[in-house]
Symmetry: C4
Subunit: 216 residues, 4 copies
């Protein structure tokens, strides 16, 4: 149907998502005069709206995973070959970093940065575990039903998640890594990445176990 | 179709709803620097968006009542057996409390709390009566028509209700009870619960009487 | 289909609309600590969302005019009899006042008030003229096409109109009258009503003339 | 179907769009008490909602380009004749200016103004290049698929773009010119127009080249 390669769609989609996430945080902090709730409101609405458009337009090409855990879940259910899985994940990682760096270029910030924002508390890891379980369960349930409104559900869920979890819904190892490269509103200290990604992976394992149990 | 038991869907759905309601209030108060209108804006948008997703995904399983009064109305119209009704209500109650407690865990707040937020005025009881009449009438009307957009209508109505009633649209005995267990933005003093639930029950009676009259 | 009389739907719909408009202004002013932009943001989002639900649910019963000018336009195109037209307008007027008064009861404000908010400038009358032309043209165009998304278009238009016109999109003689009865965010001094309604009526005349010209 | 001439629809649509853009900025600045993030939030939500309604209602008449670059892209793909192309562009330009001037009249501002807001940095030109590439790619992709949700995607994209680019998504030569005529929130100094329009045109060239490559 489309001549755009699937992994290219994953890369572009993840770049656009991370650009929306990062840039709206930068813009919000520059304008909000210290009212972080207004920044988070803009940040969450923008992320949800961007996700909706990206999933709607790139979904028909590559499935629009934009997230290595979603690709891994697809690999487990044999929707992706091993080769495709690695192409997807590499594209997602490079795309996520490109999105952060494009934001830095557009806002005249130093291209290469490390975040200094601490996000290291067991409460945040629990939050990330719950958030990722919710995201992956929703994707699993919606894809089983092939509900055409799935992009809307995911956009709303991410918007809600920014406010309803203490970790603000990272839920994505590629995004987590890329967000350590920006010392702005949405950043995370490199040293705090590992437990976040561990919690996200644990969530995938839980969803796969429960999913298997309920399929029988 | 789905192997997930109905009462399980009620419990999970109510837990997710209360998590969205409570956590977005906590997050808003932590960030808004005293501007309660911004907190309520986030709180109401998040509640509406969460409700939309929960109703859309769990509606096909259990009907997604999430509210003992809605289950009671279903029992009156024989859509639920007595046994199912009690299973639903217990699941809703336990789910609501679980949602509040998960929020406390994620935000490192003491697990068990009592709200100290007074909500005791006849004007609030009137507000709660009007709010519940609106909610139940809408559910009745939409379910008679089997309008597929019902989740959107309910989400919008709850968003509007947070701003257009002085009691901020509790409309749900299970949620009211659970909200007495959190001393945060959305809490209610345990002593103030009874008249709220009484007003909500009165609303159900009014809706059943008027509904019967107009069906003839 | 529904046993609810048409004029009753008009009355209830207009009451709910005015309740949303007035109460969200009261709630916003009580919470926003002087930031009127946040009040207007909540007020406009709530009005749009309320309008969407009311139009969707009551549209199939009475057409959900909620506005004497819309009923007058329907009378001109013979969609309403003279008798129906008067029943609609009376229901809209009484409903609008009831919505304002219910808000006062719910928020413990004096039931009967006169607004002291001045809205008397030729620029506002021009704004009201433009606003009403936009609203009525949209209703005309959408009803000719019988587009099922008309409630969404109207809700978005009213949301936009609150921000994109200096008079904040009154566009409704019944609402204008009722809003003189509340000395809150959305009020208008009784003495300033007449030119507002005159501008709204002038808009209807323009729309009817242009509409006739383009139908030939 | 409709007797309204196509170029007339382009003119009216562009006027309404610029009115929404400009007026919501004026209203926001008047009310927000210096919190520019709240102004941008209102401005971006209003622009998106207005765009959604305008595209939905005028799209079936003229295609609702509202943007000379979109018309130029349509001319390249022979969807417009040369004569139509010029009629569209003139209507868009006059409409854009009319929208700005109507805003000044409604808000009692001097009719003729020049903006003094500097927007001259290579980072902004890069931002404008990226923004226009995104907009035109989306239009191209969505029109190839004839997706009926295209107005929603465009509205969300523009809302996101206000926050996710440093230049706040001008992406439109007619709008850029008209925005130099208003010394308000959304203005741009006349001297800064040229590089903005150059970046936008460069984006069109890139999209046409890549589009051709991927069609083969």
């Amino acid at each position: 149907m489309s001549p755009m390669p699937k992994w290219w769609a994953e890369g572009v989609g993840t770049a656009l998502l991370l650009m929306a996430v990062t840039a709206s945080g930068v813009m919000g902090e520059a304008l909000a005069g210290g009212n972080a709730a207004v920044v988070l409101l803009a940040n969450s609405l923008v992320t949800g709206a961007a996700l909706y458009v990206i999933l709607s337009l790139l979904g028909p090409i590559s499935g629009a995973h934009l997230n290595p855990l979603v690709s891994l879940m697809a690999w487990f259910t044999k929707a992706l070959t091993t080769r495709e899985f690695f192409a997807y994940v590499i594209a997602q990682l490079l795309g996520a970093i490109a999105g952060v760096w494009l934001t830095h270029l557009m806002f005249r910030l130093p291209l290469c940065q490390w975040s200094t924002k601490p996000r290291a508390e067991p409460a945040l890891w629990l939050s990330e575990l719950i958030a990722t379980v919710i995201l992956l369960s929703l994707i699993r349930l919606a894809s089983q039903r092939q509900d055409p409104k799935t992009p809307v559900y995911l956009a709303c869920t991410v918007f809600v998640g920014y406010w309803a979890t203490s970790s603000t819904f990272f839920v994505n190892p590629a995004a987590t890594l890329a967000r350590s490269l920006t010392n702005t509103f949405v950043g995370i200290r490199p040293i705090d990445i590992a437990p976040f990604i561990a919690a996200q992976c644990l969530a995938l394992i839980l969803v796969l176990i429960v999913g298997k149990r309920w399929r029988r």
